[in-house]
């Protein structure tokens, strides 16, 4: 009996020792291995020297923490370019997106465990991180001059610049299936009422008029966020007054309207049967295959449609969320995520070179090799390439005529964290637009308090 006991205890202890050995070996192997396959030609002999730390052709290794949606083919192409031209290897660490991801970033910043580089949202979410405390001030770097003035405010805190754009800008629009529009003889709507008439016709034809994908809650916010162009056109000082705690969703009819739009879409039964649980990828499938006509969404979905459904991406167009007035018609723009340098990095020079390359002509060219743009770049002198998606081409006139405005989260530091869930509550008929506005105002107030803004 005791014999047996001893045996499996020995076995367990043995197993652990074995594991430690394996992990030990593996981690040293790991370095070699990553050198081998990402380094391509330069790889294998470098690893042997890693102990004595640094002959001149030794590649520097930088770590970057990105959200799972950021590691696109274009991003990877730039990393390859950086490794080839600068001899800097980049170790990519992927985190979940959404609130879990934000939490991870905040926790790691506060505990001093951040990677050398961080890719994170720009605008209000970045401001919530207290960038001055954690990131390197880039105001005096010459390469920052390449960035357009329109982008700078969303990475600026207390007059200092902290990040570079990680990709092109994009818009939140009503993506629509042009085949359905042709089939049913519909016109691109200029007012909300026209849009609703189109929806009635599409519904009568037995198709889904508006694709809803509340299974991923963030997708539910588009009709309110993309309405911001209209809000700012009608109430020009909304953002400032909202940041100061005076303008509220519940006391500004033009802002409240965003919730009402969601409520109307839900109440009139325009959405797909499974809208409360459908996911982002099911949504893009419906739009691409023409079972759904409209998908209020960010243009970042286009490369995914191209990837998964090939040429069908050419059937997709984009129009801005219409207002009640046909003369107010423009796009709400999302500024790209930013890449920042962690203040505590030991490889500051390499990190700066990395950023410089990322937004250089070579960097952008490498990026465009992998990803087609989803909107204009915010880098000076970079134009949309000829072969852009048709939907993206449809955006160009709006940009050229200046009928665009950044979304609210890029002009005010405050965004209430519960907005996605509030939107799904409204869309699924559990809450009215008025209740939602009131609830969101409270949510915003809480956020303001956490940011240290004095509202009372």
């Amino acid at each position: 009996m005791r014999q047996v006991k001893l045996n499996w205890l020995t076995f367990l202890v043995g197993a652990v020792l074995f594991m430690f050995l394996l992990v030990g070996c593996n981690s040293s192997e790991g370095e070699t291995a990553s050198g081998d396959d990402s380094g391509g030609e330069s790889g294998s002999e470098t690893s042997s020297g890693s102990d004595d730390g640094g002959t001149s052709d030794e590649p520097v290794e930088l770590s970057i923490l990105v959200s799972e949606t950021a590691s696109t083919p274009g991003f990877k192409k730039v990393l390859e370019g950086i490794e080839r031209d600068l001899n800097i290897k980049t170790k990519v660490e992927v985190r979940p997106g959404g609130p879990e991801g934000e939490n991870i970033v905040k926790t790691r910043l506060a505990t001093g465990e951040m990677s050398d580089l961080t890719l994170f949202n720009s605008g209000s979410l970045l401001m919530a991180l207290n960038p001055e405390k954690y990131f390197v001030n880039l105001s005096n770097e010459p390469f920052m001059d390449r960035i357009m003035d329109s982008y700078k405010p969303v990475v600026t805190s207390n007059g200092k610049l902290f990040g570079i754009p990680a990709r092109s800008s994009q818009v939140g629009a009503w993506l629509y299936n042009k085949k359905i529009y042709k089939e049913l003889n519909l016109e691109v709507p200029k007012t909300w009422d026209e849009l609703m008439e189109n929806n009635e016709k599409i519904k009568a034809a037995g198709k889904t008029a508006v694709i809803g994908t509340y299974g991923e809650t963030w997708t539910s916010q588009l009709p309110i966020l993309a309405d911001y162009y209209n809000v700012q056109a009608e109430v020009p000082d909304f953002a400032d007054s909202y940041t100061e705690g005076e303008a509220k969703y519940s006391n500004t009819p033009q802002a409240l309207r965003g919730f009402a739009r969601i409520q109307e879409i839900g109440e009139r039964g325009f959405m797909n049967e499974d809208y409360t649980v459908a996911t982002y990828d099911q949504g893009m499938k419906m739009l691409a295959e023409g079972t759904g006509a409209h998908y209020p969404m960010l243009t970042q979905v286009l490369p995914l449609i191209a990837e998964n459904f090939g040429d069908k991406v050419n059937d997709i167009g984009a129009f801005p969320q219409p207002s009640d007035d046909p003369s107010v018609n423009g796009h709400t723009v999302w500024m790209p995520d930013a890449i920042m340098i962690n203040k505590e990095t030991e490889k500051l020079e390499a990190a700066k070179k990395w950023l410089e390359y990322y937004i250089s002509e070579e960097g952008i060219a490498a990026y465009q090799e992998g990803d087609k743009s989803i909107g204009p770049f915010v880098i000076k002198g970079v134009d949309l390439p000829e072969d852009a998606y048709p939907a993206v081409k449809e955006l160009v006139p709006y940009f050229e005529s200046g009928n665009v405005a950044p979304a609210l989260e890029f002009v005010s530091p405050i965004k209430g964290p519960n907005l996605p869930q509030i939107c799904t509550s409204v869309g699924s008929g559990q809450m009215t637009a008025e209740e939602a506005a009131k609830m969101y105002d409270d949510d915003v107030k809480k956020q303001a308090k956490q940011l240290g803004l004095n509202w009372d």
Binding site: M1, R2, V4, K5, L12, V13, A15, V16, M19, F20, L22, V23, N26, S27, G30, A33, S34, D37, S63, E68, T69, S71, T72, K91, V92, E93, V94, P96, E100, I104, T107, R108, A110, T111, G112, E113, T279, Y280, D281, M284, L304, E307, N308
Partner: protein, 301 residues
């Protein structure tokens, strides 16, 4: 070991095995039962088997087939291809995660067995002590760990992001449950045994490690299975207290297949299946013993 001790041990072991013998003897074939039996069998298979079948069959399909999420036979078998893709993804992150998770699980289990069996022994023998500490231990069952203070603490003692850090943390989180099981189980071991050992001049160490600990085998098996499932399947704590690209653990690998290009269900299910193998193997090994440990432990307590 003196004859007195052995006598007590044999008697104790006989008592606990008597029931098993009896149930074996009562096994008779009753034809009327067969119908009910097979019906119940069928129900159990449907409720517990189909989800498994669902995962297995979809892990063999191609990406389009798996996205349909049905039970149909694969049109296009991709067994090798799918599993190979999962295993080679990101420089073999899944294999690395296997190693990390196994190391953490096994080490934590050893720590847990060590500290909880000793604590359980003392708490069970000194009832006054146990009464006082009861609620302190129960707290551990009730509260989830507080994230930021815990990270702060781990950093202060230099164990954040390290194997020892996460191992001790997981041990602390499993302590209450395992300790309660041990305490209850020790109560079934006759105290006369301790007295006999004392007469023979045993010290506390030889009493515990040579005599008591081997008798705890059933409950140790229970703890091994239940706690290692908890630790191996832990997602939250690994995410917070063991971050870093090299520190991947198995549950985190699932997120590799739900990224921006939509969910790759075929690979996701292949991964689900792969990471479920170790607990399955463990369970097969300890299957019968789990019940034994509970019989004397949790249930009489």
């Amino acid at each position: 070991m003196s004859s007195k001790q052995e006598e007590i041990i044999t008697q104790y072991q006989q008592e606990s095995s008597v029931q098993v013998v009896k149930t074996m003897a009562r096994k008779k074939v009753n034809k009327g039962l067969i119908l009910i039996e097979s019906f119940a069998f069928l129900i159990a298979i449907i409720f517990f088997g189909i989800p498994f079948y669902f995962v297995i069959i979809n892990s063999l399909k191609d990406s389009g087939g798996a996205a349909e999420l049905n039970l149909s036979w694969p049109d296009n078998f991709q067994f090798l291809q799918n599993y190979q893709e999962v295993l080679t993804l990101n420089d073999g992150i899944v294999l690395r995660a296997f190693l990390n998770s196994s190391l953490i699980t096994i080490s934590s289990i050893i720590v847990i067995i060590f500290i909880c069996s000793m604590a359980g022994f003392i708490l069970s023998r000194r009832q006054g002590m146990a009464k006082k500490l009861n609620y302190v231990i129960l707290i551990g069952l009730m509260i989830p760990p507080t994230i930021v203070p815990t990270i702060w603490l781990l950093q202060k003692i230099g164990l954040f992001k390290t194997f020892p850090g996460i191992i001790f943390l997981e041990s602390a989180l499993q302590f209450s449950f395992a300790c309660l099981l041990y305490t209850a189980f020790v109560a079934t071991i006759p105290k006369e045994l301790d007295e006999a050992a004392l007469m023979d001049g045993c010290g506390p160490f030889s009493l515990f490690f040579k005599i008591i600990f081997p008798l705890l085998k059933p409950v140790t098996s229970t703890v091994i299975v239940l706690s290692s499932i908890q630790i191996y399947n832990d997602f939250e704590n690994m995410l917070y207290f063991f971050p870093g690209a090299d520190n991947a653990t198995v549950q985190l690998t699932l997120y590799n297949f739900t990224g921006i290009y939509g969910t790759s269900y075929h690979l996701l299910f292949a991964d689900v299946l792969l990471i479920s193998i170790p607990p399955l193997v463990l369970f097969i090994f300890f299957n019968k013993k789990i019940v034994d440990g509970m019989t004397a432990g949790a249930v009489k307590g």
